[in-house]
């Protein structure tokens, strides 16, 4: 395992064994960033790779990344899903440049080595030399070489992968609560409505913390209070797995009362601000359980959200200590009719890079990063709702953030 000597002598120092104070240097330190790639992204964690629906036919592939590492996901002739590192074993060239497609095999453009859909090396150009001269060293056996493999599991139509041989199976690792939350949302065949990528000028951890932060929503996102969007929300709760890093929070809504209230408002003009067109929030209880918001995270960098009728996966990809790619993968379901699709698209204004209740999350991490520039001594305070990372029945809490740090510190050995 990678274990660099601290090069600068200013290694991140945690104030205590606790998780309710987070050293600011964790967001700015280059050595920490390098260690995270090894210990977290290539460590004992499961990562979003793609949707199973993107790999319908044999030969379908998707190119993605786990942390900074380029990974290919394929469906082979036996219909098994495989994942392997997108790096030719010969001289390390990027094997496949395409984002997605269908192939019979992968051929490296540099010297023509070929691999099958499971990542096994199948061909070496001029292996026997030319006219009996040259060629591969006699002890080299193609059969003994393959692209570095990831373990793969599929849950709720989502393909997950891990570099780790020893991490528990996906469901055990997620924990029963989070499995329940994930399969609740992904309870039927999903369809891809589209993707958007946001470039965030901040450390990746500032974004995942923001997602787990139920405290800021009604304060930072003025849209919610201006239009009294969630005034008929009912109490929800937070579930956190024992390791701490996987969680979901939810809130319920009295959908019928909300519809009635809107109708009512149309008749008696209130002095409050009103939306001219309510279709951006007009929602249906598609799961039949009254839950209107469910935010689920999978450590370290995946989010599955249901915000009313918007369903999306968000993937957080570190791209340097102060740069993050946030991909939004917007979903519908195969049983959606045109009315439902249009509803999802209109509510889509709530989320994404231009989202009425998401726009602020795009810059707030960058503001923190800016404030920390050469000013990163000390620690942030994460004490709303106490010092532990337990499941809770109220949302004015930072317990899910503490859960992240609990899991993080265990993996980082800090």
């Amino acid at each position: 395992m990678y274990d660099p000597e601290p090069s600068s002598g200013r290694r991140v120092a945690w104030p205590s064994n606790g998780i309710s104070e987070v050293p600011f240097r964790t967001y700015t330190d280059q050595d920490t960033y390098v260690r995270e790639q090894e210990r977290i992204f290539k460590g004992d964690t499961w990562h979003y790779l793609c949707l199973e629906a993107e790999l319908t036919a044999a030969g379908d592939f998707v190119s993605t990344t786990v942390g900074e590492v380029s990974v290919l996901v394929t469906r082979d002739a036996e219909r098994t899903v495989n994942a392997f590192v997108n790096r030719c074993i010969h001289r390390g060239n990027l094997l496949c440049m395409g984002r997605q497609g269908n192939v019979k095999k992968f051929s490296c453009m540099y010297h023509g080595w070929t691999y099958d859909l499971t990542g096994q090396l199948t061909g070496v150009a001029f292996e026997q030399g030319v006219q009996g001269k040259g060629g591969m060293a006699p002890e080299f056996r193609k059969e003994e070489h393959r692209l570095q493999k990831l373990r793969v599991e599929v849950l709720g139509g989502i393909v997950f992968g891990t570099f780790s041989d020893k991490v528990a199976g996906l469901e055990d690792w997620l924990g029963a609560d989070v499995v329940r939350g994930l399969t609740r949302v992904m309870n039927r065949a999903p369809t891809l409505l589209g993707r958007n990528t946001q470039i965030l000028p901040n450390n990746w951890k500032l974004y995942i913390e923001n997602v787990k932060d139920t405290y800021h929503a009604s304060i930072l996102h003025l849209f919610l209070t201006t239009f009294k969007i969630n005034k008929l929300n009912m109490p929800g709760g937070i579930f956190i797995n024992p390791d701490g890093g996987n969680h979901y929070s939810f809130a319920k809504l009295d959908y019928e009362a909300e519809t009635a209230a809107y109708k009512d408002e149309g008749i008696r003009a209130e002095s409050d601000f009103r939306l001219q067109d309510r279709s951006v929030v007009e929602s249906v209880d598609e799961y039949g359980d009254g839950v209107s918001v469910q935010i689920l995270t999978v450590f370290p960098g995946m989010v599955l959200q249901q915000v009313r009728n918007t369903i999306a996966v968000r993937v957080i990809r570190p791209r340097g200590v102060d740069r993050t790619e946030l991909e939004w993968i917007h979903l519908g379901f195969e049983d959606d009719d045109e009315e439902m699709t249009e509803r999802r698209l209109r509510q889509g204004n709530l989320i994404g890079p231009a989202g009425y209740v998401a726009m602020e999350d795009g810059f707030i991490g960058g503001f923190v990063q800016r404030a920390l520039q050469y000013n990163d001594e000390g620690a942030g305070v994460v004490m709303m709702g106490g010092h532990e990372a337990e499941s809770q029945t109220f949302k004015a809490s930072e317990s899910a953030i503490r859960g992240f740090w609990k899991h993080y510190r265990a993996l980082m050995g800090e």
Partner: protein, 160 residues
């Protein structure tokens, strides 16, 4: 349609497109919804989503009400670091001109100027327009803003 009429339509369409850019760049967004008929279709969508036939974009309005709400929230209910745009629009490609309708594809680039003065190339792409030319004031029935890149720097607050 005579050549003369067609020439008038070309000039009218360019006027509308120029007015659109001026309204946004000079921060007169309250006038922006007036450039559309009701119902309408305004959408910002990435080239790759659009090419793949996927419908999810970044910003979407199907009615005048939705356009008004976008402007209102921009002013009152969203927070973002102050910035403005500068559009450069053209060339224009007139795909078809009929009695009531002009179909026009127009290239654009948009620079973003932060309040600090930092100026960056924010977006490039094409407007795919369906324009109602039946009245004296031309209006958009549909303006699909196809942005070339999937990547949006930080956030997208102001319409493109």
């Amino acid at each position: 349609m005579t050549d003369r009429d067609e020439q008038a339509v070309r000039i009218g369409v360019q006027e509308l497109s120029g007015l659109y850019a001026e309204i946004i760049d000079e921060d007169r967004l309250e006038e922006w919804p007036d450039l559309f008929v009701d119902p309408c279709r305004y959408q910002i969508i990435s080239h790759s989503n659009h090419e793949a036939g996927m419908r999810q974009g970044v910003m979407y309005a199907a009615t005048r009400g939705m356009l008004l709400d976008r402007v209102f929230t921009l002013r009152q209910a969203n927070l973002y670091e102050p910035h403005r745009y500068r559009h450069v629009v053209g060339p224009y490609r007139f795909k078809s001109i009929e009695r009531d309708t002009a179909i026009v594809h127009t290239h654009f680039i948009v620079a973003r100027i932060m309040h600090s003065g930092e100026t960056t190339l924010f977006a490039t792409g094409r407007y795919l327009d369906d324009i109602d030319i039946s009245g004296p004031d031309y209006k958009f029935r549909e303006r699909i803003v196809v942005i070339d890149s999937d990547q949006i720097d930080t956030l997208l607050a102001i319409p493109i």
